[in-house]
């Protein structure tokens, strides 16, 4: 019943742009394919998922190897998209620490992303620092911003925390937009230099891709290590049951602070990479939608799962590119996709354990 209702809903949604006829076709189409599926399942017994023992180590090695040869296989335009995917993976790994591991619903992560990007932009253009000397300062600033937000926010739980962090995200965006003398307001900051390695400018897309890929690997490695440590377990226990965590001797306040500043740290790194990739930053890149987008990534991939986060970012960045020909409908497709996920696989694509 749920499934039939859902098909009907899909068809209704498609009516505005496909017409009544198109919607009806879609409805019939889905009904028929579902009918065929049921029939086949009935005839051949329950269609089982293939129980192939997954060698995760081999799989991830293959994935990394593929990522390394990728730029040789695709056009420059797609290398550009791949860089964006990598930046979002770093950002999503950061959000995952806060939302996925510690269970603090944070809807203002674009703020840390923005602080990272603007720190990098200002330090390099105003103070003439290079990318590498600006990076530690940038990371310090964003981690501090994470700590500062934690003070008022961590007195709250659940929905209330979400609202406060949402507000925080908006405050940062508005400050970036209106503090003309420093951030140049909506005009943004341009001419952000590319990073140099050993006197060699990383301006070529392919080189930049390898730089960002390197950072992704480092980030994934570090986050994975921390996840399987005492600190990671403490975060998970806070997500599961805060009262019980405290009774187990975990200083929940301290670990929430740690989660927020550690998450902000990665968002800052993503921001710095974004700024030096684009050579330009403006406040509109760090809107509320950006925060929601990243939370969607980790929910789609599977909350708390590192491979899930990577897959989620991959899908959500690639999807709009793949659907570029259907400009008008891609947000709709995204929405339908997310609703589908919530109905049929609420735990995300890759589940922990």
């Amino acid at each position: 019943m749920k499934k039939v209702l859902f098909m009907f809903w899909c068809a209704l949604l498609s009516m505005p742009f496909m017409g009544i006829k198109g919607g009806a076709y879609l409805f019939v189409g889905i009904c028929v394919s579902y009918g065929v599926y049921v029939l086949l399942a009935h005839l051949f017994g329950k269609i089982k998922k293939p129980a192939i023992p997954v060698n995760t180590k081999l799989l991830s090695t293959a994935f990394i190897a593929f990522a390394f040869i990728l730029p040789f296989l695709i056009k420059d335009y797609y290398t550009d998209v791949a860089i964006l995917v990598c930046i979002y993976i770093i950002l999503a790994l950061g959000v995952n620490i806060v939302v996925g591991f510690s269970g603090l619903l944070h809807l203002g992560f674009a703020a840390f992303y923005g602080i990272g990007a603007y720190s990098n932009a200002l330090l390099t253009t105003h103070f003439g620092l290079g990318f590498w000397s600006a990076l530690p300062l940038t990371l310090l600033f964003t981690s501090m911003a994470g700590l500062l937000l934690a003070f008022p926010a961590l007195r709250l739980k659940g929905d209330y925390l979400a609202i406060v962090t949402l507000g925080f995200g908006e405050i940062i965006r508005l400050v970036l937009n209106n503090w003309d003398s420093v951030t140049r307001g909506p005009n943004g900051i341009s001419n952000i230099p590319s990073p140099f390695i050993l006197g060699f400018e990383i301006s070529n897309l392919m080189y930049y891709y390898y730089l960002v890929l390197g950072f992704v690997l480092i980030a994934a490695f570090i986050v994975k290590r921390v996840y399987h440590s005492r600190t990671g377990r403490a975060w998970l226990s806070i997500r599961e049951d805060e009262t019980a965590a405290e009774a187990m001797g975990i200083n929940t306040r301290k670990y929430k602070f740690m989660a927020l500043s550690f998450g902000a740290f990665w968002a800052g790194l993503a921001g710095a990479l974004f700024a030096s990739k684009m050579h330009f930053v403006s406040p509109e890149s760090f809107s509320f939608m950006e925060s929601v987008f990243v939370v969607c990534m980790i929910i789609l991939g599977g909350l708390g799962s590192i491979p899930g986060v990577i897959l989620g970012s991959l899908i959500l960045v690639l999807l709009p590119e793949v659907l570029r020909d259907f400009q008008l409908y891609r947000m709709l497709a995204l929405g339908v996709g997310l609703v589908l996920m919530m109905i049929f696989r609420p735990q995300g694509l890759i589940r922990k354990n």
């Binding site: 600190t231 226990s237 001797g249 975990i250």
Partner: protein
Amino acid sequence: MILEVRDLTKIFGGLKAIEEISFKVKRGIILSIIGPNGAGKTTLFNCLTGVLPSTKGHVLFEDEDITQRRPYEITEKGIARTFQNIRVFNSMTVLENVMIGQHSRSREGLLTAVLGTKKFQREEDEIRSKALEYLEFTGIQDYAATLAENLPYGDQKRLEIARALATEPELLLLDEPAAGMNPQETMALMELIKKIREWGKTVIIIEHDMKVVMGISDWIIVLDHGVKIAEGTPNEIQNNPYVIEAYLGKEEVDLLS
């Protein structure tokens, strides 16, 4: 004396949940706290463990005042507890649950974890092997890799005890450990609690099952309407007129006599 409570009072708005309760607990005994529903037993536990701040009075653990401490500090000092409504970490494995109990007895932080130093590895191995020991002690070692939410009810209660023991407490507070258990499970639980006492730990339990209370307690405290109305050995408590009155009501007692 491992624990001393002096005039402990907790007021919620206009309701005195517990009122000027004082008692002392000898080391190495099993103490039961009984009383009708709403007598303030769980509130007392929450005040002892810092989950709720007490309004007045003092709690001394090993001669140290721990009254206004945060729960995690009290756990570090050596008091562990279980909860009346099971509060295991559902989507983590049984082993991970118990490993979290070792939190305050270990210290490696972010940096050594990232670098994967020898010291970190050694501590991690130690936490794991100790956790396995506690699982074996409570008899749920076969479930080590199971998600806690998939455990049967009785074993979830055992897991809570294993997790509390993993914090290496001197004093263990169990809030209705036998609630919802069948007679066999209850018997096994009584054995387990006795084993914990033999191990040299002090245990305070809140329990409604009188067979359990009379069977294992060395000392009993009776609460009613937030006030301590009696304390003594199981024998003394069974014959105490105030206790009979609290449980059966005044009229019934009059009728009986």
